[in-house]
C-alpha cells in the first residue's frame, strides 16, 4: 500500500484506537478539524468525540491530563500542534511523566505518547521549525523516537502507543507529504531502541535520523564511486542502539553524524563522545558532526538554507572525512 508519511501516522493512530479502547487522542484541533496537518483526519468521526478530544490551547494541560489518564489505565496520544510548543508542557513531561515510574518504585507506569510536527526546511520561522529532541534525551524515564520513513512512522507510533513509558515522538513535517512509500497492508510494529542499517559500506559511517536520512542516502548513492558509505538511521534517540552504532564505527573507523537539530548540546555530541571513548583504537579519523548552526531557524528561505544541513554540506563533510 502506497502511503505518505503523514498517512502512515494517521493509520497507526486509527488502528490503535480501534484495537484498544484505552487509547485516546487529545490535542488542539485534532477532532473536528482533523489536526492542523490533517494527521487525525476522520478519526473523531470514526472513534467518537470522547476518544478523539479537542483540547484548549494549553500544552501543560494536555500533557498533565494525559499523565492523569495514563495513571488510571488509559493510553493517551497527546498531539502538540507544533512540537515547538512542547516547552509549554515541559514540566509535566520531565517532572511528572518521566519520574512517575521511579517515584512509585516501579509500581506504576505512564503510557503516554507525545507526538507532533518538528523540523524545518518549510520556511516556518523560529516557532514552527524546531528540533527540541535533545532536551528530552537528557531525561531518564522517557523514550524518544524520530522516524524518517513512512514504514517507521507507522511501526514506531504503534510501538510507542503500546509502550508503558512516556514516548516523545518527533515526526518531521518536511517529510509529511514529500514521502510516498510502499508499506505492508498487514499490521506490523517497529521496535523502540533499534537503529536501522540503511546502507552497508566499508569506508565511512554516517549516523543520522529524521529528515537528513534522505539527503544522506542520496549522498551515499551519488558518491558511491569515490567512497563506500555505511548509513545508520538511529530511529530511536533514547535509548540509542549503541551496539549498532559501535559495530559500524569499529568497522569503518570514520564516523560523520548528521542531524537537523543544533550542534551544541545536540544528540550528535553524545554519539560522538561514546564512539570516541569506546571505539578509540578503531578510529581512522576524528568523529565529525554536521548539524544546524547554533542560531534560531530563520524565516528567510536563503537564510534557512544557510543554517540547516543540506545536500551540499553533507557531501562536503563526507568528502573531507574520507580524505582525512
Amino acid at each position: 500500500m502506497l502511503v505518505t508519511y503523514i498517512e502512515a501516522i494517521r493509520q497507526a493512530m486509527d488502528e490503535e484506537l480501534a484495537r484498544d479502547r484505552n487509547v485516546l487522542l487529545m490535542g488542539e484541533d485534532v477532532g473536528l478539524m482533523g489536526g492542523a496537518f490533517k494527521a487525525s483526519a476522520g478519526l473523531q468521526g470514526k472513534h467518537g468525540a470522547d476518544r478523539v478530544v479537542d483540547m484548549p490551547i494549553s500544552e501543560s494541560l494536555i500533557v498533565g491530563a494525559g499523565v492523569g489518564l495514563a495513571v488510571q489505565g488509559m493510553r493517551p496520544i497527546l498531539e502538540m500542534q507544533f512540537i515547538d510548543f512542547i516547552s509549554c508542557g515541559f514540566d509535566q513531561v520531565v517532572n511528572t511523566a518521566a519520574t512517575l515510574r521511579y517515584r512509585h518504585g516501579g509500581q506504576t507506569a505512564c503510557p503516554i505518547v507525545i507526538r507532533g510536527p518538528s523540523g524545518g526546511g518549510v520556511h516556518g520561522g523560529l516557532y514552527h521549525s524546531q528540533n527540541p529532541e535533545a532536551w528530552f534525551c537528557h531525561v531518564p524515564g522517557l523514550k524518544v523516537v524520530a522516524p524518517a520513513t513512512a514504514y517507521d512512522a507507522k511501526g514506531l507510533l504503534k510501538s510507542a502507543i503500546r509502550d508503558d513509558d512516556p514516548v516523545i515522538y518527533f515526526e518531521h513535517k518536511f517529510l509529511y507529504r514529500r514521502i510516498k512509500e510502499e508499506i505492508p497492508a498487514e499490521e506490523y510494529l517497529v521496535p523502540i531502541g533499534k537503529a536501522a542499517l540503511r546502507k552497508e559500506g566499508r569506508d565511512l559511517t554516517v549516523i543520522t535520523y529524521g529528515a537528513p536520512v534522505h539527503a544522506v542516502m542520496k549522498a551515499a548513492r551519488d558518491m558511491a564511486a569515490e567512497v563506500d558509505i555505511e548509513v545508520i538511521d538511529l530511529r530511536t534517540l533514547l535509548p540509542i542502539d549503541w551496539a549498532t552504532v559501535k559495530a559500524s564505527a569499529r568497522k569503518t573507523g570514520k564516523v560523520l553524524i548528521v542531524h537537523e537539530a543544533r550542534l551544541t548540546g545536540g544528540v550528535g555530541g553524545e554519539v560522538a563522545a561514546r564512539i570516541a571513548q569506546d571505539c578509540f583504537e578503531d578510529l581512522d579519523g576524528p568523529v565529525v558532526r554536521l548539524a544546524a548552526r547554533d542560531v534560531h531557524t530563520p524565516f528567510a528561505p536563503a537564510m534557512e538554507e544557510y543554517v540547516l544541513p543540506n545536500q551540499e554540506k553533507i557531501t562536503e563533510a563526507i568528502r573531507k572525512l574520507a580524505a582525512y
Partner: protein
C-alpha cells in the same frame, strides 16, 4: 583532646554488640574513619570507624565481650593538627527537616579547597620535534603495535601525509611488511599477522569482561542483606573445607507417626522430625554442636538449631533455642510461628543469632539432594532431600524382600578443620538411626 569511642546503635532494635576483633592497638595513630574494631550484633557485623584523627590511648573491652550501646569501647587523643575540633554532638536527625534545602547545605565535609588560578604542570614541557612527527590515526597506532610495524616506512596518503588505515592495509598487502623484531623462520606463504599484543613479561591478569546487558535485561544492585548473604557464603566456602556426606533414610516410621498425629488433629511436616532427631544426635556428638572462634572450637552446651526460612527479602535463619528440650509438637509450633512472622517481617534480631547448628529444607518443591554451605561460625549443617517412594530391599525374618518405602537423602556438611570423619559420619548415622527407629517421644 581526649574523646570516647562508643558502641554505636546499629539498628533500631539492637541494644548490644559483641566485640569481635580490634584492628588497632593502643598507641597507634589512626585517621578519621579508619576502622578501629569489628563488632557483631544480632542484625549485622560492622566495622566501627574512628570518630576523629588521633591516637588510641586506651582499649577498654576485649574481643568476645558483649557491650551495650553507647558504652565506651576505647579512648583516643585527637590530633591537634587535624582541622577544627569535630562537632561534639552530632546534629539530631530531624524527620521534619531532613531532605529540605537546609539539610543539603549543611556542611558535613571539609570545605572544598579553592583551586589555584593556574596549576602548573609538574613535568617539563615535552621536547617533541613537530617536524619528525608521523601523523597517524588511533587505529593505525593499534595496527602498528599489533603487527610490529615501522610507521616511518609506510607512505601516508591522508591530509598532511597522515598514515591512514588504508595505507597500512596497502602496505601489508604489498608484502613489504617485515616484523620489526628479529626475523623468525617464516613458512613460504606470508602468514596472517597475529593479533596478539607483544608480550611484555608478566602482564596483569586479563580482567573479566563486564557482562553485556541488553536493554531488556534488568540490573539488580545488591541490597545490604544480599551483600551480607554473599559475603557470608564466600567467607564460609573460603574458611571451612566442606565435607558433604549423604545418608539414605527410610522415613516410613516418620510417615506413620505423621499419620497418627494427623488423626489426633496435629498436622506435622517432616521437618520437625529431622530437627528433633538432629537435636538428639547433637547431644550425643558434642563436637558437631560447636562454633569456631579464632583457633579454638567452642563446644556449645546449649543446642540452638538455626532453621532456614525463605522470605520475600531473602533467606532468614531463625534459631530454635534448646531444640533438644522441645517436643515434636513444640518444634512444629515454633516453626509455624517463625514461618508466619518471617513473612510479616516480625522476627527480631535476637531470634536470628546464637545458632549452634543449622538445618535447611528446600521444602515441597525440593529435590533429591544438595550440598549446603555451613552457616559460620558453626561447623555443621543438615539438608533434607525430597522424600520419594522407592522400592528398597529389607531383611525381614531372615529373608530379603522388596518393599515400597518413602526414602530421603539427608546431606550433612561438616567443617573438616574441626570435625574428623569418624565424628561427622557418626553424627549422620545417628540422625538416620533415630529417624528410622521412629521413636520420637
Amino acid at each position: 583532646m581526649l574523646i570516647d569511642v562508643v558502641m554505636p546503635q546499629l539498628g533500631e532494635s539492637v541494644v548490644e554488640g559483641v566485640v569481635v576483633k580490634w584492628l588497632v592497638e593502643v598507641g597507634q595513630a589512626v585517621a578519621k574513619d579508619q576502622p578501629l574494631l569489628e563488632i557483631s550484633t544480632d542484625k549485622v557485623d560492622a566495622e566501627i570507624p574512628s570518630p576523629a584523627a588521633g591516637k588510641v590511648t586506651q582499649i577498654l573491652v576485649t574481643p568476645g565481650e558483649t557491650v551495650p550501646i553507647r558504652e565506651v569501647l576505647a579512648r583516643m587523643e585527637t590530633d591537634p593538627a587535624a582541622a577544627a575540633p569535630v562537632e561534639e554532638v552530632p546534629e539530631k536527625w530531624d524527620e521534619e527537616t531532613e531532605g529540605f534545602p537546609g539539610h543539603m547545605a549543611r556542611a558535613s565535609a571539609p570545605p572544598i579547597p579553592v583551586p589555584p588560578r593556574i596549576e602548573t604542570s609538574a613535568l617539563p614541557p615535552s621536547a617533541h620535534p613537530a617536524a619528525a612527527r608521523i601523523r597517524i590515526t588511533p587505529v593505525v597506532a593499534r595496527m602498528a603495535a599489533e603487527r610490529g610495524l615501522d610507521l616511518s616506512r609506510i607512505p601516508g596518503t591522508g591530509i598532511d601525509g597522515r598514515v591512514t588505515r588504508k595505507d597500512v592495509e596497502a602496505y601489508l598487502a604489498s608484502g613489504e611488511a617485515r616484523p620489526a623484531g628479529p626475523p623468525k623462520a617464516v613458512p613460504a606463504p606470508v602468514p596472517k599477522p597475529t593479533v596478539v599484543p607483544p608480550a611484555t613479561g608478566a602482564g596483569p591478569a586479563p580482567k573479566a569482561a563486564p557482562p553485556t546487558t541488553s536493554g531488556e535485561d534488568q540490573v539488580v544492585p545488591w541490597t545490604p542483606i544480599r551483600k551480607k548473604i554473599a559475603e557470608h557464603m564466600v567467607r564460609s566456602k573460603h574458611t571451612s573445607p566442606h565435607v558433604h556426606i549423604f545418608a539414605e533414610v527410610d522415613m516410613h516410621k516418620v510417615a506413620a507417626a505423621r499419620a497418627r498425629s494427623k488423626k489426633e488433629g496435629v498436622n506435622l511436616t517432616y521437618l520437625p522430625f529431622v530437627i528433633h532427631a538432629a537435636a538428639k544426635a547433637l547431644r550425643e556428638t558434642p563436637v558437631m554442636n560447636a562454633i569456631v572462634t579464632g583457633e579454638s572450637t567452642v563446644l556449645k552446651k546449649d543446642i540452638h538449631i538455626a532453621v532456614a526460612v525463605d522470605t520475600e527479602k531473602g533467606l532468614l535463619v531463625p534459631v530454635l533455642r534448646h531444640a533438644d528440650r522441645m517436643s515434636l509438637s513444640e518444634i512444629s509450633a515454633a516453626m509455624d510461628d517463625f514461618g508466619a512472622r518471617a513473612k510479616s517481617g516480625k522476627i527480631s534480631p535476637d531470634e536470628l543469632s546464637g545458632g549452634t547448628f543449622s538445618i535447611t529444607n528446600p521444602g515441597i518443591r525440593g529435590n533429591l539432594f544438595g550440598t549446603p554451605i555451613i552457616n559460620q561460625p558453626q561447623v555443621g549443617i543438615l539438608r533434607l532431600g525430597q522424600i520419594v517412594k522407592r522400592p528398597v530391599v529389607i531383611a525381614a525374618n531372615g529373608e530379603d524382600s522388596i518393599v515400597i518405602r518413602p526414602m530421603m537423602y539427608l546431606c550433612c556438611a561438616y567443617d573438616h578443620r574441626v570435625i574428623d570423619g569418624v565424628a561427622g559420619n557418626g553424627f549422620l548415622y545417628r540422625v538416620r538411626e533415630i529417624l528410622e527407629a521412629g521413636d520420637f517421644f
